[in-house]
Symmetry: C2
Subunit: 316 residues, 2 copies
Amino acid sequence: MKLFDLPCIAAAVDPAEAAEQIRLGFIAYSQGRVKVPPVQNFVFAPANGDCCVKSAWVEGSDSFTVKISTGFYDNPTRGLPSNDGLMLVLSALTGQPLALLQDEGWLTGLRTALAGQIVARALAPAQVEAIGIFGTGSQARLQLEHLLPVTDCRHVLVWGRHDEALHRYREFAEGLGLRVTTTRHAEEVARQANLIVTTTPSREALLQRQWLRPGSHITAVGADSPGKQELDAQLVAAAEVIVVDSIAQCSLYGEVSHALKAGLIERSRLLELGQLLAGEGQGRRDDRQITLADLTGVAVQDAQIARYAVQACSRV
Amino acid sequence: MKLFDLPCIAAAVDPAEAAEQIRLGFIAYSQGRVKVPPVQNFVFAPANGDCCVKSAWVEGSDSFTVKISTGFYDNPTRGLPSNDGLMLVLSALTGQPLALLQDEGWLTGLRTALAGQIVARALAPAQVEAIGIFGTGSQARLQLEHLLPVTDCRHVLVWGRHDEALHRYREFAEGLGLRVTTTRHAEEVARQANLIVTTTPSREALLQRQWLRPGSHITAVGADSPGKQELDAQLVAAAEVIVVDSIAQCSLYGEVSHALKAGLIERSRLLELGQLLAGEGQGRRDDRQITLADLTGVAVQDAQIARYAVQACSRV
């Protein structure tokens, strides 16, 4: 079994190549060609932590992946990052472990951001007035970074709860060459930005329908487990295109689940990202439509980026 | 993260110490103190292989375990073992990966055999006339090896389908100092042995009720997934004590599931091993009773042996 650590992985992985593999993975998933057993979840209440184990095999592939990711939210007080994790790639031909990617959660962050990029390529309005980011954490940074290849817009509005975090985000985004507006008022972001990504662990709606500009696209990635919510359910219902990474998973949690439970939308309105990417569903038709993507994270993203990362690291 | 390979693990692990940890694990499991998310199963039909991912956390423990085990049944034709696997131990305090045990499935084999030993200590008749083993594979060897500390009996009858495999098993068992009778007739084993372990991947009953001696104990470990069966359902129903490692799991598959589905027994007759070990249920009362243990393998065994193995390897 080969072992690859984070410095090696981060040096070898090309985001554009990884994005292409993830795109193909979404298509395979929506075509029913990916085996995805139920996610294993742990909650470690005494330590304010959780863990999920996500596994997937793309049928016909010669490998499969088991990913373990952890979030321990008091870690920063000990000088440790909140998130950690690793991916294991095993042979689907012999069962032998092929590689351990000790990526410390880096690949999970990247595959989540690249899903946002893939969605933006498909659904962003032709003219991006400003990029809006909700949240100031690592995923908020990654999403912005990986939107830049998709748009010429270089103005970002960032919403956060804490001035210090907003200040640090400003430094980061200015380092990418952007003009940056920070704010603690969600409405300000929605009134100016028309390509919006929400990345917070919020448990109540941050973003309201009536604030949105016509033609805005919103990608929501924060609500990755039950109880989380970033968008008002009325906003979800008002979107003219609703794309989800997994109909099965987004019916259980994520933004769409709240609107389904409230009876505001029918399940038949949901379009899976893989279908959209395969040209099997109607995406944005004009620059007045509100479009929405609800991304809860599916194991096929992990399987695809892990397999690619092993190849990339092995080439180095 | 520490890495331990099979030679290191096999040298460091003391079976008696491991058995004690597994015994405590069964008790914790039956007391509801173990978090066990659903098992993840893959079937790789083109390669005649499968994989399962079993994870567990004993509440209050400072670590948890994710185990991956694979079985690829055409591997021997390529000179590879059928089974492979590894265990990961992570911190339940910070989420950090602590250790990777590259045990190649060795710890899974051992924890399964030690469960058989634990059961035999609790349920074997006082006077073992002969040990009966069904199957000639690695688990058939491990079960015999780990029964020897439990009984003075040194006669084993072994059932198998192939003379060559029986011959190799004879050499193995004679090497342990036993008198060995090999046979292709299941009835011969049941007529002479009263401490019987079945370890085959059979999908039809091998062992019939009417062949058994009074007072026999049978431990069935082969039926670890749906569709497998080693014991006639009438035999299961006739047992006066029916112990299972997990009522929930053995209701779904394993020997007991067939008798439950046929309506031959009630679920209320099942006693969990952890209850028996905690003195909370009635085990064998006399030397005429037929007793049965149906062991499908539970993730708490993996969590306990993995945590112990990391400690043992770290001491070396």
